[in-house]
């Protein structure tokens, strides 16, 4: 169908819009329906990865890289969705990821459920804007209700047990739940060591994640310091240094070169010898400068050639070369050292200090890593993830990131709601109740919103192998009967429905954000009644 089709008085079509025949247009309800179908398809894909018993997806990129993930945002972004509405959903989960870091699957499932409900309402002939108005109202009620059912969890630097439980909830659905406690503890410790509690600010740049294939998940550890994926420049250098004083250099271990283009003509043997002597002298004076200021380890952003390397060894100066920019920075922060741009500026107080620096060797492979521990400043930490294969290591990193986000969110705002879809069910009940008091058409949309909220517990139950409808109706009736809002779906089949007892917590801001974002996106999709797509040639 062409974009704009008009005929003149003789019935001949004429062109108004550039390359009209290449454009593709959909209007009215047809367009809205097409969007809903697209969104539903996308949300159905991630639906099965919701909850502790949710399953993972395997994604193969065009170059054959394999990703296995349970994280909604990762799955969505790797799927390379073409459809416009699908892309919006991808952005939606990405936004949740950027802002909150967790709950990326839930938000897509919720948006899909809302659109599914909207479709039914459209079939009944309700104007799309009325539907979105109703959703908006319902969302307001739900968010207000979330505030009501939320609980404040106390935590302090010494008592982190509740933070730990929240991190556990987030990790519940991930592959790492084999080492559940350990990972949760790592997440909590990592965040607490870099958090600025006064400003409630957590800088993720200070947490580095290193992964290495080999070993098992249980070997994952938190290093209060820095791990550098490098080894000492010479194999004969000592493998462990105690009470290290580190010189952090950003200049190469070679005679200084001007940045301006330069040229040196060598015409005689004597001149050549002079040059050689000069080079050696410079090396020696550099090493002397390093030694004089008291350093016993050198970390260098650039490299040095074999000659310098052996000179360093002769002078018993272990050195690490080709350390990347971010690592240099992290190292400087961790050891309270200063980055030194040239040898002349080296002085005692600019050195970083660390308790130990040691080279770690893994298994039978000849791979080494340098671990800098017991640093002067514990603000920089590194999580060192181990796992059987690359996919697991990557997924473990992602899961840990999610868990750390949860902890971060709780530091910013320590209110929680109960997981296991308890909050959703309770909001659904609240919205349903309010809907009865609305006199206009929005009533229908509000009820649909409540039903869409039910989709989350249903998906949870389904993924956990429980009968979805039975479970939902049981929990719902119990919530109403007992008036306890913390009852949820018992995914782990422990026989306890009260999520308070199971310690399944979600940060309030994460849930709130899910509701708001999903509703706003659905509103946007419902508001579109006209799609003009410029077809590419291959279509």
């Amino acid at each position: 169908m062409s974009a704009i089709y008009t005929t003149d008085e003789y019935g001949r079509p004429f062109i108004i819009v550039r390359e009209q025949d290449k454009k593709h247009r959909k209007t009215g309800i047809e367009a809205t329906k097409a969007h809903i179908v697209a969104a539903k398809t996308v949300s159905n894909i991630v639906r099965t990865s919701l909850g502790p018993r949710g399953l993972d997806k395997i994604l193969i990129s065009p170059d054959g890289d394999i990703t296995i993930s349970n994280d909604g945002a990762t799955i969505m972004s790797q799927m390379a969705i073409e459809n416009q509405i699908g892309k919006l959903l991808v952005e939606l989960s990405k936004s949740q990821d950027d802002e909150i870091g967790d709950g990326t699957t839930g938000i897509v499932v919720l948006a899909g459920a809302l659109l599914e409900q909207a479709e039914e309402l459209l079939d009944r002939g309700i104007h799309p804007i009325r539907i979105s108005d109703g959703f908006e109202r319902a969302c307001k009620i739900a968010v207000a209700h979330l505030d009501k059912v939320s609980d404040v969890i106390p935590w302090s630097k010494d008592d982190t047990s509740d933070l730990f439980k929240c991190a556990k909830t987030s990790l519940g659905s991930k592959i790492v739940n084999k080492c559940h406690d350990q990972f949760a503890q790592i997440a909590v410790d990592a965040i607490l060591s870099v958090a600025d509690l006064e400003r409630k600010d957590v800088d993720f740049e200070l947490i580095k994640m290193e992964g290495k294939v080999g070993g098992e998940l249980a070997n994952t550890s938190l290093v209060k310091g820095v791990v550098i994926d490098k080894d000492f420049s010479h194999p004969q250098m000592p493998k462990e240094i105690k009470d290290a004083k580190i010189a952090i250099l950003t200049c190469p271990f070679e005679p200084p070169k001007p940045k301006t283009k330069h040229k040196l003509d060598i015409t005689t043997v004597k001149e050549f010898e002079e040059l050689q002597k000069y080079e050696r002298d410079t090396f020696e004076s550099m090493i002397k400068q390093v030694k004089d200021c008291g350093a016993n380890v050198v970390a260098c952003q650039w490299g040095f050639d074999d000659e310098a390397n052996s000179l360093l060894l002769q002078h018993k100066l272990p050195a690490i070369r080709w350390v990347g920019g971010p690592e240099i920075e992290l190292l400087a922060i961790a050891t309270n050292g200063r980055i030194v741009p040239r040898f002349e500026d080296l002085s005692g107080e600019k050195l970083g200090s660390a308790g130990t620096i040691r080279e770690m060797t893994f298994g039978t492979t000849n791979e080494n890593m340098i671990v800098v521990e017991d640093c002067a400043n514990s603000k920089a930490v590194t999580v060192f993830v181990r796992g059987g294969n690359k996919m697991i290591v990557d997924e473990a990193k992602r899961s840990l990131h999610d868990a750390m986000c949860v902890v971060r969110n709780l530091i910013v705002d320590n209110r929680v709601v109960y997981g296991g879809a308890a909050a959703e069910i309770s909001c659904s009940i609240a919205v349903d109740k309010e809907a009865d008091q609305v006199s206009s058409i929005e009533q229908y949309a509000m009820r649909s919103f409540a039903r869409a909220l039910d989709a989350i517990p249903m998906a949870l139950a389904e993924n956990s192998g429980l009968p979805p409808i039975e479970t939902l109706s049981f929990v719902k009736s119990q919530q109403i009967k007992q008036g306890i809002t913390s009852l949820g779906v018992d995914c782990m089949d422990t026989g306890i429905n009260d999520m308070k007892e199971q310690f399944v917590f979600d940060p309030l801001i994460s849930k709130r954000q899910q509701f708001l974002l999903a509703t706003q996106l659905v509103k946007m999709i419902l508001k579109i009644d006209d799609v003009i797509v410029h077809k590419t040639d291959d279509q």
Partner: protein, 550 residues
């Protein structure tokens, strides 16, 4: 091919124009131009009003835009038909002039053409119609000026209420309609912060950060911009200052060759050191000059290299390089510093200050915030939302509102929206037309009918019974022009009511401009009776594209 002769007899063809030139002329040409305009109007018809829908447009590069803004949609449609292009232009002109009402202006122009299409078919000279249009426009604009209600400027609270109401009306049709209380406050606050004489909207920075809900958007009473690319050492710099001393530079602080093509010839190896030292001295001189002023926040448009970053980190100074020009301009505006292109002669007098500077995490990004600026004639709106397209649309909507508020500050006259003013004008024109003896009577009546398109479309988009509402409105306005002057379509209540009391206010200027430019456009389309479009010169892109028809 020359002109297609409609003469029945075969005559030798005289070739006047180059082969391939397309010409069309006369009444049929006029009519096809009108149909082209109507087709374009139909596309954006449904975006009008609070229940208007959005359009999703994907362009050739696969960029997606979702919008409700008439001017944006018209631009993205990429209209090539010359007559229809005029509609695109008026939408753009309206956008530039008043910023709002872009959909209504296109709609109105289209409707004017539609109403007189019959006349053209019946052979009325287009000059007569044009004169009629002009007369009607004059009458209408005069009437708006009479009716417009001026709000007392002296009372600050009143004036603010007026601005908020105008902003709210312009937001009604947009995605942010449901959050309008929140956003109107933000928009009005933002505009009030500007220099009230200049009202330069460039001084309102809009930053978009995906993530967060719309309600998480915030207004910073100063400047905010995204952390620029930083080098190693940046994290060791302090990230918060009270009363910082800010220096803005246009200087590259990097160790590099002073001249790109310079070459140094070294005779002896020992000379190496001398040259290197000279190079270091150049940059250290610059850095020392900056430090000598006592600055502790250094911003530069050009890169600040790793050496300088570490130098500043050593001295507890914050620095950011590659700050974009408009951000830096706003920093200057807010803190009172001046951008310096050299570090020589830098004195403490060139520094600016504010209450607090800090780097903060907003969403997934880190932001530099300068707050509590002493002479803040600038502010920054940080927008949040679920998807990029979503934030883009919010930005466009806010832009419209900002423009409306700006207009309203300048002229305090307002009229009621929701089709009320159009109905009143329609009634007035109909009445005036009866006293005119010439053919123009018909044309002015046609204009009167065309004006009804706004309330009609509002009803249609909302799914109301259009005929019912229009007849009701017509009756009300005829019964008692004074009492029912501001009756229009009340979408909320699904009824006909006094919209002035419901605070659906729009600056009178928006309406005046809309009517004037819609009439101009319609006149322009009517006055063209021939299109001569020369064939595109061998454009490889155009190969195979069908010839533009008449």
């Amino acid at each position: 091919m020359a002109r297609r002769g409609q003469v029945p007899m075969m005559q030798p063809q005289v070739i006047v124009l180059k082969e391939g030139t397309d010409t069309s002329q006369g009444v049929p040409q006029l009519l096809s131009n009108i149909s082209a305009c109507l087709a374009v109007c139909d596309t954006i018809r449904t975006t009008l009003g609070p229940r208007g829908m959005d359009k999703l447009i994907v362009d050739g590069q696969g960029r997606v835009t979702i919008s409700n803004d008439g001017a944006t949609i018209m631009k993205l449609l990429d209209v090539v038909q010359p007559a229809a292009r005029t509609l695109v232009d008026i939408a753009r002109a309206q956008d530039a002039e008043v910023g709002d009402g872009t959909t209504s202006v296109v709609l109105l122009a289209g409707e004017l053409l539609k109403e007189v299409k019959e006349f053209v078919e019946e052979g009325v000279s287009s000059q007569v119609i044009i004169r009629g249009f002009r007369r009607a426009a004059e009458l209408a604009i005069e009437r708006i000026r009479q009716l417009a209600v001026s709000v007392d400027r002296t009372d600050a609270a009143e004036a603010r209420a007026l601005l908020e109401k105008c902003a709210a009306t312009s937001m009604n049709s947009k995605l942010i309609g449901s959050q309008k209380e929140f956003f109107t406050k933000m928009v009005v606050d933002a505009v009030m912060r500007l220099d009230q004489d200049q009202l330069n909207e460039d001084m309102i920075g809009i930053k978009k950060i995906p993530g967060g809900a719309m309600q998480d958007s915030l207004l910073v009473d100063g400047v905010a911009f995204k952390k620029s690319f930083s080098y190693a050492g940046f994290e060791q710099q302090p990230k918060a200052f009270d009363a910082p001393r800010i220096v803005c530079l246009n200087v590259e602080l990097e160790l590099k060759a002073e001249k790109d093509n310079a070459e140094v010839r070294v005779d002896r190896v020992a000379d190496y050191q001398a040259i290197v030292d000279a190079e270091w001295k150049i940059i250290f001189d610059k850095l020392d000059a900056i430090m000598a002023t006592g600055a502790n926040v250094v911003l530069s448009r050009l890169p600040i290299g790793d050496l300088a970053t570490q130098y500043f980190a050593d001295r507890n100074v914050f620095c950011a390089g590659r700050v974009s020009k408009d951000d830096l301009d706003r920093v200057c505006e807010a803190t009172g510093c001046r951008i310096q292109s050299t570090t020589t002669d830098l004195t403490a007098a060139h520094l600016g200050t504010c209450e607090r500077f800090e780097e903060r995490q907003i969403g997934g990004q880190r932001f530099n915030l300068f707050r509590g600026c002493p002479e803040a004639k600038t502010c920054t709106i940080v927008l949040r939302g679920g998807a990029e397209q979503f934030i883009d649309e919010v930005e466009r909507s806010l832009h419209d509102s900002i423009m409306v508020v700006r207009r309203a500050i300048k002229s305090h006259a307002v009229v009621a929206g929701g089709g009320a003013i159009e109905m009143e004008l329609s009634r007035y024109l109909r009445e005036s037309a009866r006293r005119i003896e010439e053919k123009q009577q018909l044309v002015i009546t046609a204009v009167a009918k065309a004006l009804e398109v706004v309330p009609r479309q509002l009803c249609e988009n909302a799914g109301f019974d259009t005929t019912d509402f229009i007849t009701q409105l017509r009756a009300r306005h005829a019964q008692d022009p004074d009492r029912f002057r501001w009756y229009g379509v009340d979408i909320e209540e699904e009824a006909v009511s006094d919209l002035f009391e419901k605070f659906v206010w729009e600056p009178a200027l928006v309406k005046i401009n809309a009517i004037a430019s819609a009439t101009e456009a319609a006149c322009l389309v009517l006055s063209v009776d021939e299109t001569v479009s020369s064939q595109k010169s061998q454009d490889p892109m155009a190969a195979g594209r069908p010839m533009p028809g008449r």
